[in-house]
Amino acid sequence: MQRAIRTLAGVMLCVVFTGCSRAPEATVPATVGAGATLRGQITVFAASSLSDAFEALGTAFMAAHPEAVVTFNFANSAQLAAQINEGAPADVFASANATQMRVAVEGGRLNDNDQRLFIRNNLVVITPYDNPAKVMELAELAQPGLRLILADPVAPIGQHSLDFLDQASAQPAFGADFRERVLANVVSYEDSARIVLAKIVLGEGDAAIVFTTDAAAEAEKVQSIPIPDELNVFANYLIAPVADSRNLALAEAFVAFARTAEGQAILADHGFLPLE
């Protein structure tokens, strides 16, 4: 009942503020009932590292629910959390880390106990396919004059990259000043892992740290230097419906779908590490 009221209130708000044209589908509260057809439209705000995988996930979801339409807004998780907190019309938030999920939860539009871990990812060092600086191992990230591109720490991938450097610096093999020497090589802190990837594909940088899944997306255009598990950073991706969604039933169905065997298989196809 409460949910139906919420849906209805959402629809009314939507009509009042945006005069939105898809009100008729969205008003059907029957979507709540068991076995009812899921219909209507939702917008999923997802970390940019999820872009390829979620496009595929969305296609499979829409195949399973022919009357549902899922659209995506991909950006770095911090940007998405800020947009959600400023009132952006989001129905689902998929964050590349817990921090930004918390930011959104604290913003008040997501319920703390709605968030679910749904996939994991880790880091890899990449170089352009012709590897102009001849980077062969991780320690060479500190070699002077290397043009290294990182994501800005404001994006989860940027923070993970710093965490990896910290962990490596704790190893005698790399040396305590490893992080400092590597950061001295940074030529740019980009907005998201995907932009870092694009600049490596274009050959602008000699090396970069991205998610394994990003490297998988351009496997033939970049070389990967794996990071051993004990140094690697495992990113936990969290997903949650936005509580004031105009179509909460559909939003919840999408969240659940990401955790089904089918959803996990699609995500794993794109290089993500499934939940066991």
């Binding site: 770095n76 911090a78 940007q79 800020a82 102009p132 043009r147 591109i149 800005d152 404001v154 994006a155 940074v186 030529v187 740019s188 802190y189 980009e190 907005d191 600049k199 274009l202 050959g203 602008e204």
Partner: protein, 279 residues
């Protein structure tokens, strides 16, 4: 007597009519004015004044401000030095393809700045058309201050060229010819007659170019990247600040707003006093 009264009535009637027209005109003009000023007002209302002082003095902000000021100054100077000859050719010579060039120069103004950034990257990047041969000489432009200046110049110089072309076209050729007859050299005519006469328009072009360069974001972040202290200009700092700390981003935005307003106001007041020019 009657006629004078009649005149008086007419006069009052006329003034009432005029006032009505003025009110109507303002009613029509107000929506856009409000639309343009309201968001700027909202920025100022929303910022945390307590934080303003701290933010202004923080090294990140002064760094970004310095980079913005230095690069926009150089970009504007380059636009003027390189744009004037181009504008002169376009203003004074009729040739086949003149209109085509005139239209092509508009393109950087119309293009989304991100497209401009990508275009610059695939031209001057390490594997770019021009960038690849430069790279073999050991010169790389991307991720440098030079790239910031190039991005600003690319999107902003067309404003100067457009203004200068219009300004130079408007100069009375007979005055130039008179000076030439009196023995002035080509350069003297240009420097002492043409430029002073076209000055108001040239100058508004300079101001437009500088303002566009100062606001430049998309082409910069793609071609020059984002490194605090080297390529991070104010717009980049604001954009990334938006994700990090909304309050700080708002404060930065207001600082940029105040500086822009101050410079534009100073320039306009200064110019008005000197030559009575309206921009």
């Amino acid at each position: 007597m009657i006629s004078s009264l009649y005149k008086h009535v007419i006069h009052i009637h006329f003034r009432l009519h005029q006032r009505k027209r003025l009110i109507l005109l303002w009613l029509l003009a107000a929506p856009l004015l409000i639309f343009l000023l309201l968001p700027l007002g909202a920025l100022i209302v929303r910022i945390d004044w307590m934080q303003l002082g701290e933010t202004v003095g923080s090294p990140g902000v002064t760094q970004a401000l310095r980079i913005s000021m230095v690069t926009t100054l150089i970009a504007t100077t380059l636009a003027v030095l390189l744009g004037t000859p181009l504008a002169y050719v376009l203003a004074r010579h009729q040739f086949r393809g003149r209109n085509l060039i005139d239209t092509l120069i508009d393109l950087p103004i119309v293009l989304p700045p991100a497209v401009a950034g990508i275009a610059l990257l695939i031209t001057f990047g390490r594997r770019g058309l021009v960038g690849a041969p430069l790279a073999t000489l050991g010169i790389t432009l991307s991720f440098t201050e030079i790239a910031v200046i190039m991005a600003q110049c690319f999107v902003a110089a067309p404003y100067f060229v457009k203004a200068a072309t219009a300004g130079l076209s408007g100069v009375d050729r007979e005055l130039e010819q008179a000076a030439a007859l009196d023995g002035a050299s080509g350069w003297q005519v240009f420097a002492l007659i043409t430029v002073p006469l076209a000055w108001p328009v040239l100058f508004s072009g300079v101001v437009m170019t500088w303002a566009r360069a100062l606001g430049e974001f998309g082409a910069t972040i793609i071609f020059a990247g984002n490194l605090p202290g080297r390529t991070q200009t104010m717009p980049l700092a604001i954009y990334l600040g938006f994700e990090r700390n909304l309050n700080q981003a708002l404060t930065l935005a207001v600082i940029l707003l105040v500086i822009s307003f101050g410079v534009l106001a100073l320039v306009k007041v200064g110019l008005k006093q000197r030559v009575g020019v309206k921009l």
